[in-house]
Point group: C2
Chain length 479, copies 2
C-alpha cells in the first residue's frame, strides 16, 4: 500500500479500486461505476433532487444526440466544445446526412426547446433539471475526476430579467455549496471564474472549488449566467407585459460524478477510503469476533441489532464470512465504512458492543441499550468532524502573503524541497489574459476563482505586472 | 379533438401533447420527456428500485459506448442488433480505430466486466441493475413506444446453476407483472416468447404483454434466460466447490419508458389522459370557483388544504390562474389529474369541497373534516377501479374460439366491418417458424407469448397446419 505522502496519485487509484468503487472499461478514458461507487452517486442525486424540487426546479430528459448545426448557432460554445466532441456519423447501416454529437452539455438542445415552450412572461421562470450521461473526449483522464463519459445533473433556466437570472445563478451556487459541505463534508470556496475560464458561451461563470489533501484544487460545481447569448442564438423570446417580444435571460449549472473523486481525495487516509456517513453505501458493518461460530448467541445478537438498524433506515451489513477478524477490519476500513461494530463472547456477557469509528483510533464500548442512539448521534458527529478536519487542512494550505511571481516561485520551490504541498495562493491580479497565462506558464498554477467581496482581504497589486490589482484570485494547481 | 374510436393513433399523439408529456426533438425518432412525462418515469423508477433493492439487486453504471468487437463475440446478438445500431466513428477531431456502438442493451459490456469480477462460487449470484439511455435506430417510431433513444432499466445477473438463473428470470418477470399491475393499473399477460421472438442471444425469453384500448398488444417488459451463451462468449467462469472452472448462467431483464405510452393507451379517454394516482405527477388539483377573487376566504381555505395534502405526501397543485373554471376543468382533465377539488362560496358556507374523480362522472360533496381521508381512500379505490376496468376491457377483446386461419381471417374482417377491434386470439400452434410466419403474412397478427400452463385452456390443433399443436399462443397486432 502506497501512502498519500509517497505518491498521492497512486494512492488515489489504489484506494478507489480496493474500495471496489470502480473498474476500468474497455473504451479509453471510461470507467464502470460499481455498485458502491454508484450508490454514493445515488445519495448525491437524492439530495440534489430534494433541494431542486423544493424550489420548483423539475426534472426532464432531452435527447443525447445533438445535430452539428445546433452547436454552430453559438460561436463561443462550438469553439469551446468542438475539440472534445465524439460524433455519430452512421446509423442502421447508413451514413447520416448531418453528424450528431454526443452531448457534452445541453444548452443548445434545451435552448431550442425553450424557444418553442416560452411564449409569454407567464411562462417564466422556466426551471428544468436533467440527470444525464455526457461526453467530453479529453486527452488526460482520471477515474471519476475526468472521464470521457460521465454522469451529471445540468440545470437550465430562463427568466424575464437579468436580475432574476443572476439570482438563480447565485442561488444554484449556494445549493452546491450547501450540498457539498453538508453531504460530502467537503468545504468549498465560492467565487467567480476569470473570463478565460468561463463556460463556453457564458457571460459569467461561478464555481465552488474544493481543496484536495495534496493541495490541488477540484472544480466541484459551476453555475453560469448566460445573459441573452443563448436566447439570441436560439430565439428564446417572450411577450412581456408591455406586449413586446424580448429575449429571455438564461442560466445553467452542473455538478457531476467528479464529486465522488473529490470527496475521496479530500477525506481518504492511508488505510483507504473515509466516507462521510450521509453518503456511505454501508454506514455500519457488524463483525462477530472471538470463537463466535461456537457461540450462536453472538450471531443472534448481531441479527437482532441488524434488524433494529434497518428499521431506523441505517445502512448496515454483517460480515460473517470465514475470514479472520483482522482481515475483515482491514477490508471494511479500506471500504471506508463509517462504523464498525464488534460483538464477541465478552461483549455478550457485558451486554455491550465495541464500536470503532473509521476516522478515530480508539474503540468504545457501548451498552446494547444505547447503541442505536449512539450510532445515530455519532453519524452526525462524524459528519461534522470530517468537515472540520477538512476545513483545518484547507486553512493550513492557504497562503495569502505572496505578492510577486518570484515569491510564488520561491514558495513552490521551498515547499517542494520540504516534501510539502504549495497549496493555494491568494493573489492580486490586473485582470489581463496575459498575466493569467504567465502565471500558468511559469508555475503551473491556474486561477481557481475570485472570492466574493468581504470573504478575503483584497490584494492591491498584480502578482505579475505589479500594476494595481483589479481583482483578488485564488491560484492553485488543479485536477 | 379526435376520439379514440375515430382514430386511435391520432388520439394518442394528440393526448400526449395536450397533456404536456412530451415534445418532438430535432433528431429523427427522438422525443423530449417534459417534466410531467418524466415524473411518471421517476415514479416507475422509485418502485422498481424499491423492489430490486429489496432482493439485493444493486444499481451500477456501465459505459454507453461499446466496441464493435464486443458485439461480434455473440453471433446471434450481433445479428439481432446490428441493423439498428448508431456508431461513433470520430472523436475529438480524429477517426477512431474501432467503431463504437451506442448501446442498444449492455449484455456485452456487462458480460466483459463479469468475466473479471466473477472468480469463485462465492461471487455468485451477482445481480446488477442499470438505469440508462439506450439506442435502437428503428424505421417506424412512435413517441414513448418506439423511439431512437429511450430510457430503461436493464438487470443483469449471473448464477452458479441453470436452476438459479431460471428462478431469477421468472422472479424478474413476476416483479414486472406486479409493478405494472400495481403501479400502472395495467393488467398484463405473462408467458414465453416463441423462438423467433427471443432476445438476440437468449435461450428463452419471457414477456409481459399488455392490451391497449384498440386491441393491439404492447410488450411491456422482457426477462431472458441466457443459459451459458454469454458466459461462453465473454468467458464468465467460476471455480465451483469441486475446484473446477465452469461457466456461469446469466440472465437479463428490461423495462423501458414505453411503459408510459402503454399506460396512456390503456387508460386514456376522449377527454385526454387518465393517470393512475400512484404515478400521477399531480394527484389533486384545487380550483377556486364562483366569485373567488372577491372572497379571500376561499383561497385561504384552499391554501390550508394544500398544506395539509402536502404534509401527507400527496402531490397537489392549485390553479388560481385567470382562466375560467370550465377552461381549468377541461385543462386538468386533459392532463389526467386523478382528483379535482372545487371550492366556492357555497362550499365555504357548507364547510365542504366538491370532488370530481377523473374516471367518474359525478361530483361528490365532502366535508372539510373528511377530505384528507377521503382522498387517500379514493386514490386506492381509483387505482383498483382502473385496473378492474382495464381487465374488463381485456376480457371483452379476447377470442378463444378460433381454430383455423380462415376463421381468424373471417373474425378480423367481421370485426373491422363492424368498426370493432379484432383483439387477441388464442391459437394452437405446431411450433414451426413457417406457420408463425404465415399467420403474420396473412393477418398481420404476431405471436405475443405462450401463456403458462394452467392459465388458459390449451388448444389441440395448429391454427395454420391443422397438425397437433405443440403450444397454445396469444396472437395479436402489436405496437
Amino acid at each position: 500500500m502506497v501512502t498519500r505522502k509517497e505518491d498521492f496519485s497512486k494512492w488515489y487509484l489504489q484506494t478507489i479500486q480496493q474500495a471496489d468503487l470502480m473498474d476500468y472499461a474497455p473504451v479509453r478514458g471510461n470507467i464502470i461505476f460499481k455498485p458502491d461507487g454508484y450508490e454514493i452517486w445515488e445519495h448525491i442525486q437524492e439530495e440534489f433532487n430534494r433541494r431542486f424540487k423544493e424550489e420548483g426546479i423539475r426534472n426532464a430528459y432531452f435527447p443525447m444526440l445533438i445535430p452539428e448545426s445546433f452547436f454552430n448557432k453559438e460561436k463561443n460554445h462550438i469553439e469551446g466544445f468542438s475539440p472534445e466532441l465524439p460524433w455519430v456519423t452512421e446509423a442502421a447501416g447508413e451514413k447520416l446526412e448531418e453528424r450528431l454529437a454526443l452531448r457534452p452539455t445541453s444548452e443548445t438542445m434545451i435552448g431550442d426547446a425553450m424557444s418553442r415552450w416560452i411564449q409569454s412572461y407567464r411562462d417564466l421562470p422556466m426551471e428544468i433539471n436533467q440527470w444525464a450521461n455526457v461526453f467530453r473526449w479529453e486527452k488526460r483522464t482520471l477515474p471519476f475526476l475526468r472521464t470521457s463519459e460521465f454522469l451529471w445533473q445540468e440545470g437550465h433556466t430562463a427568466h424575464a430579467t437579468a436580475e432574476d437570472a443572476i439570482e438563480r445563478t447565485m442561488r444554484s451556487l449556494q445549493i452546491y455549496k450547501e450540498v457539498v459541505e453538508g453531504l460530502l463534508a467537503m468545504p468549498v470556496f465560492s467565487g467567480e471564474k476569470t473570463p478565460s475560464e468561463r463556460f463556453a458561451g457564458a457571460e459569467r461563470t461561478y464555481s465552488i472549488e474544493a481543496m484536495m489533501q495534496d493541495g490541488k484544487a477540484v472544480q466541484a460545481g459551476t453555475s453560469h449566467f448566460m445573459g441573452t447569448k443563448f436566447a439570441e442564438a436560439f430565439d428564446i423570446r417572450y411577450l412581456n407585459t408591455d406586449n413586446e417580444h424580448v429575449y429571455a435571460y438564461t442560466t445553467s449549472f452542473g455538478a457531476s460524478t467528479r464529486l465522488i473523486g473529490a470527496m475521496i481525495m479530500a477525506h481518504g487516509d492511508d488505510q483507504g477510503l473515509v466516507l462521510p456517513p450521509r453518503v456511505a453505501p454501508h454506514q455500519v458493518v457488524m463483525i462477530p469476533v472471538g470463537p463466535w461460530q461456537k457461540n450462536p448467541a453472538i450471531m443472534e445478537k448481531i441479527e437482532e441489532l441488524h434488524s433494529e438498524f434497518k428499521a431506523l433506515g441505517i445502512r448496515v451489513l454483517i460480515d460473517d464470512s470465514d475470514n479472520s477478524p483482522g482481515y475483515k477490519f482491514n477490508e471494511w476500513e479500506m471500504h471506508g465504512v463509517p462504523f464498525r461494530i464488534e460483538v464477541g463472547p465478552r461483549d455478550l456477557k457485558n451486554e455491550q458492543v465495541m464500536v470503532k469509528a473509521r476516522d478515530l483510533d480508539e474503540k468504545v464500548a457501548v451498552p446494547f441499550t444505547d447503541i442505536m442512539t449512539y450510532i445515530q448521534e455519532q453519524m452526525d458527529a462524524m459528519q461534522t468532524r470530517l468537515l472540520e478536519k477538512a476545513r483545518q487542512m484547507n486553512a493550513d494550505q492557504l497562503y495569502t502573503h505572496i505578492e510577486t511571481l518570484d515569491e510564488l516561485k520561491a514558495h513552490i520551490e521551498s515547499k517542494q524541497a520540504a516534501g510539502e504541498n504549495p497549496g493555494w495562493v491568494l493573489a492580486g491580479w490586473d485582470g489581463t489574459e496575459e498575466t493569467e497565462a504567465q502565471i500558468k506558464e511559469v508555475t503551473g498554477f491556474t486561477t481557481r476563482n475570485i472570492p466574493f467581496e468581504g470573504t478575503v482581504e483584497p490584494k492591491t497589486t498584480c502578482i505579475v505586472s505589479g500594476k494595481p490589482a483589479t481583482t483578488t484570485v485564488w491560484l492553485a494547481r488543479a485536477y
